[in-house]
């Protein structure tokens, strides 16, 4: 009965696959994702948080503005998460990226992966962040202490037309 009750409060815990993949304008934390990550067969969960740094190349950063193409970004994140599951045979993957105005220390990105064992979980987590650095249509502008701003130099998503393994 006790176990059945726990299952009922975490209905997604039995489901494998992409738990969540998308863009949000509201506050992010790893805890939100952890709630739904993992199945009873999983012995390993890896969580990655990307946070806003308070400095870059010697400049004090007081804020970061993330611009995005949310409709496409949702699709790209879903594709990358799906690829991670196929490529590393992990059990569940969740990934969310925040856009809008963030302060130093705030969470811009959360990646959570569960698997039977730690190896694939770590590898898949790394895969998700590295792929989104290349493909995710999101841009950031730093706001400096003196009031000036600057768009960060991005990575040209002009290699193959689709993420690896895409249609």
């Amino acid at each position: 009965m006790f176990d059945a009750g726990r299952e009922a409060s975490h209905p997604e815990r039995v489901r494998s696959g992409v738990i969540v993949a998308g863009i949000t304008e509201t506050e992010l934390s790893a805890a939100d994702l952890l709630h739904d990550i993992g199945t009873a067969a999983d012995g390993a969960v890896v969580v990655f948080e990307g946070r806003v740094r308070d400095h870059n190349e010697g400049m004090k950063v007081v804020g970061l503005h993330y611009d995005g193409y949310p409709e496409m970004a949702d699709e790209v994140l879903g594709q990358i998460a799906g690829e991670a599951i196929e490529k590393y045979e992990v059990s569940t993957v969740g990934v969310r990226h925040r856009i809008g105005n963030l302060a130093p220390g705030e969470v811009s990105l959360v990646v959570a992966v569960s698997a039977g064992h730690r190896g694939p979980a770590y590898e898949a987590s790394r895969f998700v962040i590295e792929e989104l650095k290349v493909w995710l249509p999101i841009w950031k502008k730093e706001v400096y202490a003196d009031g000036s701003t600057g768009w960060l130099e991005g990575q040209a998503a002009s290699g193959p037309a689709e993420p690896e393994g895409g249609p």
């Binding site: 611009d67 193409y69 496409m72 990105l109 650095k133 841009w139 768009w151 040209a156 998503a157």
Partner: protein
């Protein structure tokens, strides 16, 4: 005579700031490819000089240069990305 149509091109980040608009409209020939669209955009006064390193997305997917752009497609110029 080749039929033409007008198509809206979505802009983001520095492009949107430089152009001062979140999209611009261009006229292209029916049957134009992504490559053809890029040529038209390259001669546009506001965006022409900013296309280096940018990708083109059609209907929310990165599009290769030979793909044909159809009337009603959702078109976007994707500057080099910087998520994370």
């Amino acid at each position: 005579m080749t039929r033409t149509f007008r198509i809206a091109v979505r802009l983001f980040a520095g492009h949107r700031e430089s152009v001062g608009a979140s999209e611009l409209e261009v006229e292209i020939d029916e049957g134009s490819t992504v490559e053809d669209l890029r040529s038209v955009l390259a001669s546009h006064p506001a965006i022409g000089s900013l296309l280096g390193g940018a990708a083109v997305a059609l209907n929310r997917r990165y599009a290769e240069s030979h793909v044909v752009v159809s009337e009603g497609d959702e078109v976007a110029i994707i500057p080099p990305v910087a998520g994370g």
